[in-house]
Amino acid sequence: MGKANNLKIRNVLITIVVIYIVLLIGPIAGFDIPNIYAQVAANPLQLVQFLIIGLANGAILSIIALGYTMVYGIIELVNFAHGDVYMIGVFTSLTVLSLTGTLDAKDPGRIILGLIFALVISIAVGAGLNAFIERVAYRRLRNSSRLAALISAIGVSFILENIGLIWAGQTWLVPLFGTTGGASQKSFPDLLGKIMAGYGLNVNLLANTGIKLTFNIKDALVLVLAAVMMTGLRLFVQNTKTGKAMRAVAQNRDASKMLGIDIDNVISTTFAIGGGLAGAAGLMAGLYNNTAWWFMGFRVGLESFTAAVLGGIGNITGGMLGGFLIGLLASFSDGYLNARWTHAWVFVILVLVLLFRPSGLLGEHVGEKA
């Protein structure tokens, strides 16, 4: 008993010391409480605005985080290349939009059709790419050490980033890329604004309500699409035969095999679903943030991996929750701390979660499961 008490006191002391250190050196990284308080007091409505931005960004992160969490749940692999599949999704949709002439179209109906087509294509490309990656780079490593599979995943991530870099330089394919070469950020045209203008509507859905907030059509679209996809995925995993097989394989691969489940097939399907979600997230992020960049997958990938870990990796609901939380955190950090430090703060969260609650918010305690 005494030992447990000592441990408790030690933990409390450590927590106090950590909090003090954060208060001491936090201001270097923008964590300056008096300053934040002053900002919130000056404009409380801004808080709601950051909340909206955070939720929309979080919706995109959630969708990507689902890919991480599903793959980790089934084969315990951190699919490091997943963020880059999302980046490929952005470029696929941009290319499809350019090739179908949607970027230059004036008619809103035409743009909507083009967007739906681009969504379908980027989902298909993302799904096919992710399943292909699994087949080529991970399948034969399934029985070797986790380190080997992770290293292979990093290699795939580098390959995809390089493909993105080359892709962004192909001006003959997409004239919009311009002559600045593949390394520069490309703009993703604001097609939603164009549609609204075509119908004579205001981009800001709250423009005529008297509320001094912006809730753009793109915020609404991202949230609606994310909700549809998450509900669909949940229904799929809970109710369909394939979904049940996926859960069975995640629980016990050997036993599922004995019951006649085609393991390879189930794992491929999981990768394909994750990749399809990442491809869809690519189009959504392109429409939302209006940029395309070959390196964007790295950062977003790490943020959504953090989201998956925060929610409890392997847990689908947890992945969604984590995505929204990280989106909110990033948005508040951008707004009140300093955008330069947001990336670092997300990592601080990741490290803290891994250290103090490795099972995440919703994950069951897996302990030191090998």
Binding site: I28, A137, N143, S145, I151, L160, N162, F347
Partner: protein, 520 residues
Amino acid sequence: MNEKMKRGIIIALVAGFVTLLFGGWAVSVAGAIAGMGLGFFLGGKNTEKTIAAAIKAALGPIAVSAGLILVISLLDDLVVATAIGKTPNDPLTMIEVNLVAIISFFAFACLLTATSTLSEKKQRNAQIILLIFVIISFPFVDNFTGLRWTPQIIFALIFTILALGLNIVVGFAGLLDLGYAAFFAIGAYTTGILSSPQHGIFLNFWLVIWIAAAVAGTFGLILGAPTLPLRGDYLAIVTLGFGEIVPVLFKNLIKVTIQEPFTCWIIPAITKLFGASSSLACITFIKDVDLTAGEKGINPIGRPWLPFIGEFQSDNPIPWYFLIIAIILMSVFIIRRLRDSRLGRAWMAVREDELAASQMGIDPVRTKLLAFAMGAMFSGFAGAFYGAYIRAIFPSVFDFSVSIIVLCMVILGGLGNINGVIVGGLVIMSADRLFLPALKDFLAGLLKNTILPALAGNPTLKAAVEQNANPILYRFLLFGLTLVIMMAVRPQGLIPSAQRKAELVGDENEPTEPLTATEG
């Protein structure tokens, strides 16, 4: 075709490739190195009793590869040089360089083949003497032939030190560290802050290099202490996070203010809440200090100084070359001793089976922490040298790709094997720093003089070809492919260490249980 002939042809083709890319005297240098490589392979397997018999047995492959090199070299001078728009060698130089190439090829190949008649120990000594000769003569030969490879080789050697350090963490202790560039950055920035006029501190390089190593090692401890209980893949991601945060820090530490929170705002806020005013003085440690100069970086950084040589200059790479060679020799010596020490054996024990190791009385946390600190220390050396050599450091130099390039070297060479890691480092970095730029120039010349005129009728295709025929654009692809292919085909690396090989090659009898050696 037998094995020896095959090796000879492969080596000759590589040498021929180098000749095509660089032209001029490259054929002589490539010929000499190829001769050594071939002699090393042929000599190793030879069992002949007399020198004459040994050479006679190896003469076939040697002659064939020498002929191949000569043919490629002549092809380069007579056909390729015109195609890529380079002025071909004049006939006299052509004869000269090819003669030197063939003679040195034959001499080194035969010499090394002949060593196979000696006893094993003597053969090894002979090979080491030859290696020392090559290392010492390299910068002078390079200077004489005007190839200017030495600055790039110095880069390769800096990264080789990094790879040696990472090998302690990944290869010996089995901890995947994806943020190794952070320690490199810490070493370089320590050097920058302590020996740059920007901060008014100007310490001697010979002191700073030790301070940099110590600071990097300390940060290894600070990072390792909380994270080492984590499982293998989580540890990898956390180290990656650390590697991402450090450049962000260096980028943004431009107006650093540290104030004691209680006296500065907590107590005043509370007293204000009760309507009183606080009389506490705010304790400020530092205010608005520019530590790293942000994106502009630290510039210039102090350089080493030695008697007789004076201050090292950037236009003369030879002192730098020998300095980095000295650092590498020291590192290899220390790492070899570490590997065979009690600590080194503890690293491997913890890597193989942590539970069993702790039952044998090894403290796993302490052992892993020391691996982190030691690995970080060597990248501190590399960082200090890098800072002094480049004279200017920027946060963007130390990004994630550096960590992965170093990981690539360790994996290509062979996890846990010191010689393998050195070979891996040299191969990857010379591919990145020497061959890709040379290939770029080669292709650019070829395009400009041969291909693009032929495509003049099709402007779209011409623009597309021009845009994409730049090998430097594909370097990430190269590293990525290296990792994926090595993991799929040869996870133990080109020159594996025996223990690591057994561990990394998948075990068919255990289909579902992943090998857990790297997991905490």
